[in-house]
């Protein structure tokens, strides 16, 4: 097998998840073990891609055959389910648990990032980690930024578990996800892989940073007289 060895690939993805989660954990006074539930849920929700996303995309592709829809719009219609299905799948269990007040010992703001990390790391392992083909540094960079993206997007979608947040947070995460994929697909034949992955990495870091900013705790200022 050529390229980066499997143990190094998987270590890189674990490292990506740790880097992505660390700032969220450092901000929490308490961490607990409750975040493991959304983490493992996020990992298993990858199955939604095969179960729901791909059949929807196949149906949409078939529906577009022979129509007058222009190519960029065809791509957009094809991409939309990836954002909608994956963000909903990652967020649904954290949302339900937090809505009914079950935090299992971990602060609510860790549930979204944990679900994203579980999804991101599992996707990276399935697509790249155990891929029998020759995997180079580029694929690792792509999955590294993708893991950060998933952590950020799920954090935006779930927030601290307040109902109002889901109303705008989940659609926003879906749109950001679809937009990222649209850029990746749309530019894939227009520029080299490294510049493209650079753009996607910057966008992923920006979304992750935005999620961190949204997650910031309100400070209580005490004015001493």
């Amino acid at each position: 097998m050529a390229g980066v060895p499997v143990p190094i690939r998987i270590s890189a993805f674990v490292f990506a998840a740790l880097v992505g989660l660390l700032p969220f954990f450092l901000r929490s006074k308490k961490i607990g073990f409750g975040w493991l539930l959304p983490f493992f849920w996020g990992a298993s929700s990858l199955y939604s891609v095969k179960l729901i996303q791909i059949p929807i995309q196949k149906a949409i592709t078939s529906a577009m055959v022979g129509t007058e829809i222009v190519p960029w719009m065809r791509l957009l219609f094809y991409i939309i389910p990836s954002g909608a299905v994956q963000e909903l799948a990652k967020a649904i269990i954290p949302i339900i648990f937090l809505l009914v007040g079950l935090r299992l010992g971990s602060p609510s703001e860790l549930w979204g990032p944990a679900a994203g990390a579980g999804f991101g790391i599992t996707e990276a392992i399935v697509i790249v980690g155990i891929n029998p083909g020759a995997i180079g540094i580029l694929a690792l960079v792509e999955r590294f930024s993708s893991t950060l993206f998933h952590i950020g997007a799920s954090s935006i979608a779930v927030g601290k578990g307040k109902p109002l947040r889901f109303v705008w947070g989940l659609p926003l995460a879906m749109v950001l996800h679809a937009l990222t994929n649209f850029i990746a697909f749309g530019l894939s034949d227009k520029m080299g892989y490294w510049p493209l992955e650079g753009i996607i990495a910057l966008e992923s870091i920006a979304i992750w940073g935005f999620a961190l900013a949204l997650n910031e705790k309100k400070q209580n200022y005490i004015v001493e007289k």
Binding site: A59, I60, T61, S62, A63, M64, G66, I69, F77
Partner: protein, 221 residues
């Protein structure tokens, strides 16, 4: 999204199914040599030889560069069997056998042998490796026609449409031809094929977005 799907399905329902009439199209043995030109640089990368041979009621299509061999029934051009080699992260050989109700796929892969059985959908179904040479027998006066296509590489069946866009002149290494420009619409991607207007509608060129096949030479025996 739902509106789009309904719109698409209504359009798809309006399209008529592809009809192939192989009479007077295929001779005993035809050899086509195509140059493969890179769309970006315009340079010829390699060439491929495609042999179409009529034998015992079957049309046999053998493509050297794609390492594919398909046998189809000559009366309606429905596929009978196919064999395709793929060299991607290892060597794969995919055999497919078509019955009235099923497509039976046996693949030799780097991880061992695989066996898959797919339900054969109703209506016209073509093997991907016969598509370009079977479309010679289509009715070019019909603007849009739909069909189902079997893709051996991932053992899947997809919907597609063929759309006749018009007649134009095409300069190939074999000469200048008056051709039908035909769009092959796969939903997410589109490709173009060019068929000589004159019977038996030889494929003069094919553009898959990355490479363009251009006819260099053809022989009928």
């Amino acid at each position: 999204m739902v509106a789009l799907m309904l719109f698409g399905l209504s359009m798809s329902a309006k399209m008529q199914e592809l009809k192939l009439d192989p009479e007077d199209i295929f001779s005993d043995r035809e050899v086509f040599i195509y140059g493969l030109f890179d769309n970006e640089s315009g340079e010829e990368i390699t060439e491929t030889e495609v042999i179409c041979e009529v034998e015992d009621g079957y049309l046999l299509i053998d493509d050297s560069v794609n390492e594919s061999f398909v046998s189809v029934k000559l009366d309606d051009l429905s596929p009978y069997s196919g064999e395709k080699s793929i060299h991607y992260a290892g060597d794969y050989v995919i055999h497919s056998q078509f019955t009235e109700t099923q497509i039976i796929i046996d693949a030799e892969t780097p991880d061992g042998e695989q066996h898959i059985e797919l339900d054969r959908p109703e209506g016209l179904l073509l093997h991907n490796d016969q598509l370009l040479f079977s479309l010679r027998a289509m009715d070019f006066s019909i603007e849009k026609q739909k069909l189902k296509l079997f893709i051996p590489a991932n053992a899947s069946i997809i919907d597609m449409a063929v759309m006749v866009e018009g007649i134009e002149k095409f300069n190939a290494p074999a000469g200048e031809f008056e051709v039908y420009r035909v769009t092959l619409d796969f939903g997410l991607s589109m490709q173009t094929a060019f068929y000589e207007v004159e019977n038996p509608h030889k494929m003069i060129a094919y553009d898959n977005g990355t490479l363009q096949y251009r006819l260099k030479e053809s022989k009928s025996e």
